[in-house]
Amino acid sequence: MSVPANVRRWLKLILPLLLLLALLFLPKTDPGDNVIRMLFLTAVWTTTSLAWNLLGGMAGQVSFGFAVFFGLGAYTTALLMHAGHSPYFGFIGGAAIAALASFLIGLPTFRLRGPYFVIATIGVTEAVRVIMNNLDITGGSSGYRIQEDGPFRPLEHYYTAIAAVTLAVIVSTVIASSKFGLALRAIKQDEDAAAAVGVNPYVSKLWVHAIAAALTGLAGGIYARRAAFFYPGDVFAFQTGILILLMPVIGGIGTVWGPVLGGLVFGMVEEQISVKFPNLHLMIYGSLLILIILLEPDGLLGLLRRLFRRRTRENPGSTDADKVLWGRSSA
């Protein structure tokens, strides 16, 4: 199935818009609370996937520490709402605090290369978790409960999440096709060579980290508002950090739509797996991960591409997965 280039470009623009319209009008068909809930979760996780992909997929810096931003977004939103502000102000506040934290974390850690950066991000997450467990202002280990007046409006949460994920997609697309995105890809391929041609890797990394953190903090705040309860052992957990990066990897690292697919699969399918196979869901999850890593590093997006466009391994669709997953430039 070969589609002429100009038709393809037109499709690339129109299909996402159609998807957005479908999502916006879905509630009119009265699909039930459960579907709205799952789509909400999907949207939240897709936002974090896209955010992580900015740093990990485009710039090649693998961070296990995005749980910090998610949690900070949650706590900031909760505290601001408690102080009487509107939740939307809370979301923006959450994004801002997360971005600020990303500078604090990035300034020292981006000087580190390779595995050191990864391990440092794990360390920061754990340290933040224990500190938050002990701080009384934020409720300590008992967590924080958000009280909101008025009835529960699932659609309001739903639309907020859709707005967030739309923002994330727009930001990703803009960065991917901009000079900044080119600089990030250069850093990913070879940091020293990039520096040699005039890119400032340190500053670029800091900026993309901040954008990614802001989006993640936004997602954290939106999630927190609907869940109305969270505690450090949940939002700042090691597992949350791994979850946030698993989705873009499974979906297809480096591209814009890969993380969307990853978030979709996770939001819709993971719960199904743990419900249908309660004793086996860890094994299914783990085996899926192993199979994807070994057989299709381009993730589900790569699989889809292969199925619909007959691309073979010898003619890879993207070199991004190769670089980020395997640490090499594809031959």
Partner: protein, 413 residues
């Protein structure tokens, strides 16, 4: 057409799998049954108590269904209970999500679940949101109740009462002359709501009865620690008379092992709600002798219904009841059944109203009556059990439930 490689097969299989799972989302509810959602951890760190609670609930459901079901006046007949169980892996996000799923997609008339405080709080949010009665059989912290929630109930007595009852017990020992007044207490509790409530309960009693106790050490530790040397040293240096801790099972085992290895000795020792667990005996042997615990239920309670429960449980699951976990879950399900019957319909608000008033008169729990107080939490007395040599356990307090004499102070080896 090129030859399909392994990758292609994998790809297609994956696509089919994903589509299949998404299509499976619609769960067909059997007609003419009462759907009850159960959300408990059977994997993850709280998997063991979660499993015991699941067994307690399922035993109750089996007994109800064997008798034909619950009589629902509005339908004019008895309806069987259809249990939908979800494992939340000790993850509060999942707990909340799965409770929502049960309340919305599965149309459960009630949800039972939430073992441990944080999972409980996460699920409690959903009760009022979906106007579905929710009973927690495993979370006893007061933080969950009393916030004006209308649909949240708990069959566990407040944790603070463990501290208070422990203090009462020690006070009674002092009054009987077995221990001296002005006991120095070292308290080392886990950094959670459970630990905080325990300390509050104890110190409340102590403040109301001045002269009995002096708190010498009051420290918190993180869950899952591997080394308690420095805390235990602090305890040693305080020259306390009594050592009180509140911990989860793995920490209880680790801390007590190190306690014994360090040659520590106190006149009385307690680990909060932990003491007679079989796993602790396995790990510590005779080291668990004389530890006392304030627990929600014991298989030593003399009530006939408690003994019957223990026998039925063993027949149903193949193993003995371990500590208190299954009993509040069993009674939680039974009181729910009674409330549905009293309500006469499957309307969730009617069931909620019934839960507020109903009393389970043949409860296996101490006091033999289970009812929810105004804020939704049950309140019934705790029993203090003490481990005795040769794997025996006795209820030692309150006196009218006692099966043996308390040993105080603990004899020196």
């Amino acid at each position: 057409m090129r030859i399909l490689s392994l990758r292609d097969h994998f790809g297609r299989a994956l696509m089919f799998g994903v589509v299949f799972l998404i299509l499976c989302m619609a769960s067909a509810a059997a007609q003419d049954t009462i759907t009850i959602g159960v959300v408990l951890p059977t994997t993850g760190s709280e998997s063991k108590p979660g499993l015991y609670q699941k067994e307690g609930i399922e035993l109750a459901i089996k007994q109800i269904n064997d008798a034909g079901g619950i009589m629902v006046k509005s339908k004019g007949k008895k309806l069987k209970v259809n249990e939908i169980f979800y494992d939340d892996s000790t993850d509060s996000k999942k707990s909340a999500s799965l409770a929502e799923r049960a309340m919305s997609a599965d149309n459960a008339v009630a949800v039972i679940g939430g073992y441990s405080t944080v999972l409980g709080i996460a699920e409690s949010v959903m009760a009022d949101r979906y106007k579905t009665p929710w009973i927690t059989t495993g979370a006893g912290a007061t933080a969950i109740f009393g916030k004006g929630y209308q649909y949240a109930f708990g069959s566990l007595s407040p944790v603070a009462l463990i501290g208070t009852t422990s203090a009462e017990f020690l006070g009674a020992m002092i009054d009987q002359g077995k221990l001296k007044k002005g006991l120095k207490i070292a308290m080392v509790v886990e950094n959670t709501d459970h630990g905080t409530d325990y300390v509050t309960g104890f110190t409340d009693w102590s403040n109301k009865h001045p002269g009995y106790f002096q708190i010498a050490v009051n420290e918190k530790f993180e869950l899952g620690a591997t080394d308690f040397s420095s805390i235990l040293q602090k305890v040693k240096n305080s020259h306390a008379d009594v050592f009180l801790s509140d911990a989860h099972l793995p920490d209880y085992i680790t801390m007590h092992r190190q306690y014994l290895q360090n040659g520590l000795h106190h006149q009385m020792i307690s680990y909060g709600a932990r003491g007679p667990e079989a796993a602790a005996r396995q790990a510590l042997g005779a080291g668990t002798d004389y530890i006392f615990a304030g627990i929600w239920w014991s298989n030593k309670l003399p009530y006939p219904q408690a003994k019957k429960f223990a026998t039925d449980y063993k027949a149903f699951t193949g193993h003995d009841v371990d500590s208190w976990y299954a009993a509040p879950a069993y009674d939680g399900m039974r009181i729910l059944a009674k409330a549905i019957e009293t309500a006469g319909s499957l309307d969730k608000t009617a069931i909620r109203d019934a839960l507020k008033k109903v009393e389970l008169k043949d409860s296996v729990l101490p006091g033999q009556v289970l009812k929810f107080s105004a804020n939704g939490q049950a309140e019934y007395p705790f029993v203090i059990t003490q481990n005795k040599p040769d794997n025996k356990v006795d209820i030692v307090f309150p006196k009218d439930a006692a099966t043996g004499d308390p040993v105080a102070p603990i004899p020196n080896k």
